[in-house]
């Protein structure tokens, strides 16, 4: 009996792993829908709007891939995942790609057998505290109670930061961002820590955002990006180059407004290759020539997506910072379309 219970559970894991075979592109085409893993709700990155439609920075990444592959930016099934369920969902084939503020780390890439296709947001872990505490540096947080989302790299960074500064803290592990927000606002913890972008997004939803401050220390490197399963390189290439297309378009000055005009009359060979009027890049990916143009038509290039969802004009108000083009002193650098 004991044995059969154990084996039963093994099977569930085994069967679901079996679905994760190669050929994701064909699966997606046959299904007519892209299954994309997102957060359970982080305003600006991925959250349903008032009409129940998913909106956000990561959501646009999903839509761009769907547009490139299926020609329809709405053909996406958004699967909300928590920090704990996301990797199982991807490994089991429940989702085709994961765009969920996921930090690219060695062990996730190598040991968990995932393929990070690039970085769409360079982030770092920060701390948010109520202003009334009068704390001005994370090093003053000795003895504080800290809310963290469990199952994330922030949990480990937090332990490292406090240990290396030789100060103590008390962790309160929380499952989702929404719950963490409640706990923090109820005063059950003094500090909320997560990626600085997430803090800004969370703070934007507070009743009085001005009562809370994000401390200056950024205690970690958090390169966030979309990822797919190991072993299906064709699919990985499609997601990678969709992201690169958005970045390159910004670099080359291709926007959603001038795309049609550029496509008709550009003299720049790289723009022509990107938009499919020259060369056979789309064919190499197993798609048609217009794939990148369709991805760009969803919400425009990287800069447009950024400004529309999380930029300074939005309530989240993030500056480009590290996420500017390399030509503007940022880290965004796409390999050439050639």
């Amino acid at each position: 009996m004991k044995k059969s219970v154990i084996l039963g559970a093994l099977t569930v894991a085994g069967l679901s792993a079996g679905a994760a075979a190669a050929g994701t592109l064909d699966d997606v085409k046959a299904r007519g829908k892209l299954n994309c893993g997102v957060t359970t709700g982080l305003v600006g990155f991925a959250a349903p709007d008032a009409n129940g439609e998913w909106k956000g920075f990561d959501v646009t990444m999903c839509r761009a891939v769907a547009a490139a592959v299926l020609g329809d930016a709405t053909a996406v099934e958004f699967v909300p995942t928590t920090g704990k369920t996301r990797f199982t969902a991807l490994a089991s084939g429940e989702i085709d790609m994961l765009a969920r503020n996921t930090t690219w780390t060695f062990s996730r890439d190598v040991d968990l057998k995932f393929e990070f296709v690039g970085v769409n947001y360079y982030d770092g872990q920060g701390f948010m505290v109520p202003k009334e505490l009068g704390v001005s540096s994370a090093k003053d947080l000795d003895g504080a109670t800290v809310c963290i989302q469990t199952g994330t790299t922030t949990e480990l960074n937090l332990a490292d930061f406090f240990r290396s500064n030789n100060i103590s803290y008390e962790p309160v592990p929380i499952e989702t961002n929404a719950e963490a927000q409640q706990q923090y606002l109820a005063g059950a913890c003094d500090v909320y820590t997560t990626d600085a972008s997430g803090l800004a997004a969370t703070r934007a939803t507070f009743e009085n955002p001005g009562d809370h401050t994000v401390l200056p220390e950024i205690v970690s490197k958090e390169p966030l990006g979309p990822l797919v399963r190991h072993g299906d390189n064709e699919w990985g290439d499609i997601v990678r180059w969709t992201l690169n297309a958005l970045v390159t378009a910004e670099e080359l000055g291709v926007t959603s407004a001038n795309m049609a005009e550029m496509k008709a009359s550009t003299n720049n060979p790289e723009i022509a290759r990107l938009l499919g009027t020259e060369g056979t890049l789309g064919e190499m990916l197993g798609l048609d020539a217009d794939w990148a143009a369709r991805a760009l038509a969803v919400e425009g290039n990287y800069a447009e997506v950024f400004e529309k969802n999380i930029g300074e004009a939005t309530p989240i108000g993030l500056a480009r910072g590290l996420n500017a083009q390399w030509t503007d002193g940022g880290l965004l650098y796409s390999p050439p379309f050639r």
Binding site: A13, G14, A17, K113, G151, P171
Partner: protein, 410 residues
């Protein structure tokens, strides 16, 4: 009188495997066993092929790696540099802690509510019926979250205790009730026998166990006298002495001190902290399972025939003694078996701890460790093994107890 005789013995034919009742059951059992074995073999092959296809391998060496995360509620020494195995141990102890606490309080709630539900007082019995129906008909996860949410939102934050214009103050300057937990004075030793704190407490427990046997010996001695002379000697002061004196002497020699919690920095420090998640989980599990136990107790009491009560009444026993001496001992035989399943339920339901951030085994090994290492199959296997072992142990202990109170047939 009709006598059924065996069918005539004949030479064995293959068709007799199905047509002959002597062989048919054996055949069916063999077929079932074969199908089951094939299923298991298929499942095993499936998982090993799939794991191989993904380039994954099963192994438990990750348990020896440093865990890298901190745990707020721990009964043993643990830092973020400890191993994953140690984190699992912390989780196991936390699970057992909340399970034991909840079993005790659920039994108390259950017995009180069950007995009172049979009360002749209309208001009391209806109140208890109300309690039972409300609590057992709403999922325990909801109760856990409701209680935790109320606690964090209604209780004052530690900040409220600060400064001259503090809106909250400590009870008797000893206890602090905050939305992060309850802080109570913690005992310590100024003159301990052992360097390790745990060893000192073990010594105290050993003395208490000695007192328990001492008290029992006095009880046996009193019964013997009573059987010989008919008079039971007064023993309460002896028993009180046996319980209190040795412990009091030991604690005085070791120099018992109390560590009073005080507001320092962001939180109270010193004393013992009973965290909010533990309280919410403990209370929710007790009050939820208590409702089920109340029904068991009521069923057990009603299973004792009314004639017993009436006969005891006719002998002149007071209602309290009728309950204690006549009804409950017989009712226990009916109550204990379902009570075992309630204890098992508490242990398993404690895995809902993650909802309020209590670091039980599901939250440490099955949550953070699983997540950070990605070793899902191994972690889930270990989790199942733990819950299975814990449940079987509880079952075994309770069955021993059940055997000791059941009707002895002589």
């Amino acid at each position: 009188m009709a006598i059924l005789s065996d069918p005539p013995e004949g030479p064995f034919r293959l068709s007799m495997l199905l047509s002959d009742t002597r062989y048919r059951s054996l055949t069916l059992q063999a077929i079932t066993a074969l199908v089951l074995a094939l299923c298991l073999a298929y499942l095993y092959r499936n998982i090993s092929t799939n794991l191989q296809a993904q380039g994954l391998s099963l192994g438990f060496s990750f348990l020896q790696d440093p865990s890298g995360y901190d745990i707020n509620q721990r009964l043993v020494e643990y830092t973020s540099q400890s191993t994953h195995a140690r984190a699992a141990l912390v989780g196991i102890l936390n699970t057992l802690l909340v399970a034991v606490l909840a079993c005790i309080t659920a039994t108390i709630f259950g017995v009180i509510a069950g007995v009172l539900r049979l009360s002749n007082n209309w208001l009391v019995s209806k109140l208890m019926a109300f309690y039972v129906e409300i609590f057992r008909n709403i999922p325990v996860l909801i109760w856990i979250i409701i209680i935790f949410t109320i606690m964090t939102n209604v209780m004052p934050t530690p900040r409220a205790f600060r400064g001259d214009a503090a809106t909250s103050s400590m009870l008797f300057d000893l206890f602090a009730f905050t939305n992060r937990g309850v802080y109570i004075p913690g005992p310590g030793f100024s003159n301990p026998f052992f360097a390790s704190v745990g060893m000192n407490w073990l010594l105290v427990i050993a003395v208490l166990v000695g007192s328990f046997f001492g008290a029992r010996a006095i009880g046996t001695w009193a019964t013997k006298i009573q059987e010989a002379t008919g008079d039971r000697p007064t023993t309460w002061y002896m028993i009180l002495g046996v319980w209190l004196l040795p412990v009091a002497i030991l604690l005085t020699v070791m120099g018992l001190t109390w560590d009073i919690p005080a507001l320092k920095g962001f939180n109270f420090t010193g004393g013992i902290k009973i965290g909010g998640p533990l309280i919410a989980l403990w209370f929710a599990l007790s009050i939820y399972t208590g409702a089920f136990i109340a029904e068991n107790v009521r069923a057990g009491i009603q299973a004792v025939s009314k004639g017993q009560t009436e006969a005891a009444g006719a002998l002149g026993l007071r209602p309290g003694r009728i309950m204690n001496l006549v009804v409950l001992p017989q009712a226990l035989r009916v109550i204990i078996p379902p009570l075992i399943s309630q204890y098992l339920n508490i242990t398993k339901n404690s895995s809902l701890a993650i909802a309020v951030g209590y670091a039980d085994i599901t939250a440490t090994l099955g949550g953070i460790t699983l997540n950070q290492t990605g070793r899902a199959i191994e972690c889930v296997l270990l989790l199942m093994l733990f819950y299975l072992t814990a449940s079987l142990l509880i079952s075994a202990f309770m069955n021993v107890y059940n055997a000791s109170i059941k009707l002895k047939e002589r």
